[in-house]
């Protein structure tokens, strides 16, 4: 072990284990592995000093879990970059929640105001779509406007009606001639 290098950066995996962290009982810092009956310590959830103290106190005989960055260094809870990123994400999330609440309140206020004072000629969007596709589908949609019809006049032909049947006659009066 190189004493000049940070202890945590020199930790290596000697005997890889496939036990699932999610299935172990415990919190984010330490969980109990029922397979080995050992406590597994999450070094990445501890500050650097605490993690180093833990490794030193157990003289390396312990089961740990950690996140290693691509450059080989170990992530600890007090990593300044990680804390800054976490803080930024927290601020962003709080700002987003606040923005959502403001948008909902202002949207409902706008909806109330718009519902009371709709502009003249306003149609709901679906009606606007339907009437644009087929303006004469619903006459009420164009009833407010004057619609002029232009084209050749087609006069329906008048067919002669047959004469009504003669009423029943008892023979005292002659029936009037047809056409009168």
């Amino acid at each position: 072990m190189n004493p000049e290098l940070p202890l945590l950066n020199q930790i290596d995996v000697a005997s890889p284990c496939t036990a699932s962290w999610e299935e172990m009982d415990g919190d984010e810092r330490v969980r109990f592995c029922s397979l080995c009956r050992l406590n597994v310590y999450n070094l990445s959830e501890m500050p650097r000093e605490e993690a180093e103290d833990l490794v030193r106190s157990r003289e390396g005989r312990l089961c740990v879990r950690f996140y290693r960055r691509p450059d080989g260094t170990m992530l600890t809870r007090d990593c300044p970059v990680g804390i800054r990123a976490l803080r930024q994400r927290l601020v962003r999330a709080v700002a987003a929640i606040a923005g959502l609440v403001v948008a909902m309140v202002s949207g409902s206020l706008f909806a109330n105001m718009f519902g009371r004072h709709k502009p003249a000629g306003y149609q709901p969007p679906a009606s606007a779509f339907s009437n644009w596709i087929d303006p004469y589908r619903n006459y009420s949609a164009v009833a407010g406007r004057m619609v002029f019809t232009v084209g050749d006049v087609c006069i329906p032909t008048v067919t002669p009606q047959p004469p009504p049947p003669a009423p029943a006659n008892n023979g005292s009066e002659p029936a009037p001639p047809a056409g009168e």
Binding site: M1, Q10, I11, D12, V13, A14, S15, P16, C17, T18, A19, S20, W21, C33, V40, S44, V55, E59, G60, R61, L62, C63, V64, R65, F66, Y67, R68, A85, L86, R89, L90, A93, V94, A96, I97, L100, S108, A111, N112, F114, G115, P119, A120, G121, Y122, Q123, P124, P125, A126, S127, A128, F129, S130, N131, W132, I133, D134, P135, R145
Partner: protein, 323 residues
Amino acid sequence: MTRLLAVTTAAERLLIVFTAALVLALHLGGMLAPQWLVAAIPLGVDVQPLLPPAQLILLIAWTILGPGRLWVRLVAAPALAVVLAAGWAVGSGGAMELPGNWLVTAGIAAAALALSIRCCGQRLAASRPDSAKAPRHPQFSIRMLIILTTLVAVVLGILESLRPMLRNDQELSMYLERLLASRLEAGFLSGYFSDISIRQYVLAAAVAGTSLAALWCVLRPGAMWLRLIVAAVCLPLLGIYLANLSGGARDVSVNLAIGLTTLAAIVGLSVVPLRLAGVRLARPRRTGFKPVLSKISEDRLKTCPTKDRLKTCPTELVPETVS
């Protein structure tokens, strides 16, 4: 998704759950709520009839652009469509304000647009928040500018060529006959395209385009405020332009502008929880998760003092780009 939620903070998780519940309430409430309740909610009557096309386009976008295996989504999509149709038939009493054949046309247009997006390599994929970062300043390549202006010019050219037909509300068959009259006998087309007005096609394409534009604005990587501003300007302009093409009055243009913007807002709001959960519409990066395994030579183990031999549990998964 579980992996994504695992890397979020409690506030972020709360935000995701809250917005997802809001979106679900909007869609399910609009579908199943009685009419008196819809009428009691401000703008409820205006928004509710736009939910079926929004849901249909979202379903199509998920089917074509969604993550995972395509065949699973292709099997699931018709079943979901049936569930949606049944929900609307039960909820709204079967009285849909928008014509059914127009909805089908809009669905086909949305599928065509989503397919073209997929052909460009864009997919909906879950990405870790850290890797979803994009350049802070919007960047445009010359190639993208050329493609965009060409597309706009082509669309405007097609719409301008359709202007007389749109103004007179004619059928597509008449347009095709006029287009092809001098070259071939297009009479056989009349039977197929009769009774379908050109306006129906144009509006279906416009609705599909605006909905997918809203999805694009919300789910693309990087800050979305600039895209939202551009969309907020362009979508009403599209409605006004369509009304101008058809020779409609001022109120028609205002109504179309409001309608297209409202539909885009519904689609955009519906995918906000996905954005919060880290889903982005982008070229998928081939990433995998593989356990941290360090190989230590036997010689080193032998020379290592006892106290430095750590028995470790390398259960942490570290993202690693697979080349």
